[in-house]
Structures are given as C-alpha cells and as structure tokens.
Amino acid sequence: MKSTLTSAALAATALIVGCSSPKTTYVEPGSSRLVTNVDQINIQDFAQAADTMVNSLIDNLINPGQLKSGVPDQPALLAISRIQNNTGTQLDTDLLVKKMRVALLRTGKVQTSTTIAYGGAEDPLMAEEEKNNQFFNDKPKRRPDYTLSGKIIEDRTRAGNVRQSAFVFQLSLSSRDGIGVWEDEKTIVKQGSRPTVGF
C-alpha cells in the first residue's frame, strides 16, 4: 500500500514538473503567441501595419507600373520624412518604417536614401562623403523621387469593463512635385476587459 502511494506521488510530481512550462521562452516574431496589450502598440501591430502598407504600395503603385524613377533602369529613390507619433506612448517609428523599407527594397523597385531624411541623415558618415564627392568631383547628388510621411494616432474609449484602443497608421507618399501619389490608412482596434489581454 505504502509503495503504491509513493509511486503515485512520484508519478504526480513527474507529471507536474514535466508539464510546467519554463518561465522564459523564445517565440517566433510572426507567431500568434506574442503578448498583446490593449493600451499599447505591440510589435505584431507594427508588423501588421507595415505589411498592409507595403501590400497597398505594391498593389496601387508598384504593380501597375506607376512608380517612376528619376534615373532610367534604376529603382525609385525614397526618402523618409516625418512620421509623427501622436499617441500617448513614446515609441520608435522605425518599428514601422524599417520593416517597410526592408520589404520595399526586396521588391527591387524601391531604394531608400540613408543620407537624406527628415531630422538628419541616418548614415552621417556617408552624408559627409557625399558632400566631399560633390565638392571635389562636382557630381550632383541624386535627389529622392518620393518622400514617405505619416502619423500614428491613438483613440481610447471605455464602456463598463470593456476597454478599447484604436491605433491609426496614416502614411503618404509624395512625389517631387509635392503631390500625394499614394496614401493609405490602417486601423488596429483592440478590446479587453483588463489592461493586458492575450490574443
């Protein structure tokens, strides 16, 4: 009887230890296991917004052949203008923009300038090199064909225990003439009864 009880206790302990998940695990950034908060923009929200925007750019500008490059047989040159964060949370807009840049570069139709950008060059060393090149070789600097600007807006509301946050991603692509040749908006709405919920 005693040995049966001991075996049962050991089996139960093994089962508990075996089933209990470790405290920290790696998850794929594209998986459905990521932590989601109602009150903030999560990493998967940025990926979702970037994916939608790149899809829209391909569908409306790249695929119909409406994207024009200033240099024949070269991809169009894009410069990043101001992406305004109008949410209550401090966030790095590169979480959105960098994903878009990578995806656009992979299309083979768009390249992004690392020396011309709103707020200063991303690559200051290359910007200096370009200046020197212009000064010594009198080589004109290639100007961007398009600029990308936008805004991230937040709207929060609550009804009883249900909290809702809406994050609106608005982006525009302007041509050299200052005309918005592409615009899109992606809204991500999250609801939850607590500040933190999983999805």
Binding site: L34, A47, D51, I58, N63
Partner: protein, 143 residues
C-alpha cells in the same frame, strides 16, 4: 394552476429567445446572383492539425492573379461555419520558384474575427515578383 404553467412556459420561451438573441451574431449577406468577375480558382491542399478550427473556419476557395508587375496576388475566401463569433489568426508565407521561403520582417500572424456564418476574403500580395508559391496557416489565438 394551468395559468401559472402557461405563464412559466412563456417566461421560459422569452428567456431562451433573449439568450439566443444575445449569443448569436450570425451575419446576413447579399451579392449578385451572377458575378461579373472572372475568378481563377486554385485547387488547394489542406492539412488539418486543428480539427476544431478547420471545422469552424472553412476555406471555400483560393483565387490568384498576377498583374503586369509580376506580383502574385491571392484571395482566400473563408467562412465561419458556426453561429457564434470566431477568433483566429492567419499567416501567409511566400516561396520563390525553387520553393525557398522568402523571409520578411513584415511576416505576422494577423488576427481576424468572423461573426457567425460570416464570409470574408483574405487578400495578400506577394512581397516580390520572385514569389511564385505560398502557404497559408490558420491558428487559434493563444491567450
């Protein structure tokens, strides 16, 4: 006594009606009987590892098209076969002509919800003209 019995039956009926009215979120929809759009439907190969999700969210068809830029566009028609709202996520992976996965930072498990009996079209465009094949994965949301 008979009056009490009939009153109780009416109250029970009302309660059931109220409950089913609150719980059911089935969708009514209308569309042209003869569609003018030409669809190039693709035969699909489904692998069901989550039977309950496959039963609830059914893939009705996959439509593909390639525009002049050479980017593959896909549209997956799905239906929630249950009478209640269903939450799920989907992820689309793209492959080049050699079947190699095209990795992108924008690959994400996109959350989606469908009301009862609702139909939805999931559309996506290939990230590059090199993408010739794709795979769609449906997952239950993890809480």
């Amino acid at each position: 006594m008979k009056t009490f019995g009939s009153l109780a039956a009416v109250a029970l009926g009302a309660a059931v009606g109220l409950l089913s009215g609150c719980g059911s979120t089935a969708v009514n929809s209308v569309e042209p009987a003869q569609s003018s759009a030409q669809r190039a439907m693709l035969s699909d190969k489904c692998v069901f590892n989550d039977r309950s999700l496959a039963k609830a969210v059914r893939v009705l068809g996959i439509n593909t098209a390639t525009d002049q830029g050479g980017f593959l566009k896909i549209q997956i028609e799905v239906q929630n076969t249950t009478r209640s709202r269903k939450l799920f996520t989907y992820r689309i992976e793209w492959f080049d002509e050699h079947g190699i996965l095209i990795s992108l930072p924008t690959t994400v498990a996109t959350p989606r919800s469908l009301e009862g009996r609702d139909l939805a079209d999931i559309t996506a465009t290939a990230p590059t003209a090199k993408a010739k094949d794709f795979r769609i994965q449906f997952l239950e949301p993890v809480s």
